[in-house]
């Protein structure tokens, strides 16, 4: 079963706009990670945020984590057509496995 839920399920924006995706989960975590998946391809790791961190940046990506609300958000600034993909959050608890959310499908149009 999938612990996380992403919101929205689908998002369509124009190039240059910012995209925000949210992830909610149910259990306590050690860390939360965001992955990108292009159509028909494997998952690419974007960023990892630990449970004792509140915000992290990597290039055009900004991730926040609120453990009290059991939620995280991924912000992609100045989006590009190449950012079109599905984005998944994944949590790690006491076990090493990743538990993924349902994903957000992002479409960036020119």
């Amino acid at each position: 079963s999938q612990q996380g839920e992403e919101d929205p399920q689908a998002l369509s924006i124009q190039e240059g706009e910012n995209a925000t995706m949210n992830c909610s989960y149910k259990t306590s975590i050690n860390n939360l990670q965001w992955y990108r998946q292009n159509s028909g391809r494997g998952l690419v790791h974007l960023i990892l945020i630990r449970s004792n961190e509140r915000e992290k940046h990597s290039g055009r990506l900004r991730v926040t984590l609120d453990t009290s609300k059991k939620s995280s958000s991924l912000l992609i600034t100045a989006s590009r057509a190449a950012d079109t993909a599905s984005y998944f959050c994944a949590i790690t608890g006491t076990a090493s496995k990743l538990t993924f959310g349902t994903g957000t499908r992002l479409q960036v149009t020119l």
Binding site: S1, Q2, G4, N30, N31, Q33, Y35, G40, R41, G42, L43, V44, H45, L48, R50, F88, A90, T92, T94, A95, S96, K97, L98, T99, F100, G101, T102, G103
Partner: protein, 115 residues
């Protein structure tokens, strides 16, 4: 090869056939994971190895699913007597450290279609 590789990339099986899916992790990576991804869903955990030891197989959906990593490197996921509900993308991932805060690197997956 710098990344995780999987073979075959695509597999079509008739219902009832056995299949074997291969994963070559990144050299030196201790941990190896298998996930199953149904169409339009996020990946779901199947099983986890630390070197050659299978430490967690709680996600394997039935006893028709079997995974091994005999020498602590290459891993094979075997599905016996395939059923239509086994149709999915099977993803392999590896990570370097034992601790559960390490990044997992994914292969391209094997798309299995059971007719």
């Amino acid at each position: 090869g710098a990344g995780v590789s999987q073979s075959p990339r695509y597999k079509v099986a008739k219902r009832g056939q056995d299949v074997a899916l291969r994963c070559d992790p990144i050299s030196g990576h201790v941990s190896l994971f298998w996930y199953q991804q149904a169409l339009g869903q996020g990946p779901e955990f199947l099983t986890y190895f630390q070197n050659e030891a299978q430490l967690d197989k709680s996600g394997l959906p039935s006893d028709r699913f079997f995974a091994e990593r005999p020498e602590g490197s290459v891993s094979t996921l075997k599905i016996q007597r395939t059923q239509q509900e086994d149709s999915a993308v099977y993803l392999c991932a590896s990570s370097f450290h034992r601790v559960n805060t390490d990044t997992q690197y994914f292969g391209p997956g094997t798309r299995l279609t059971v007719l």
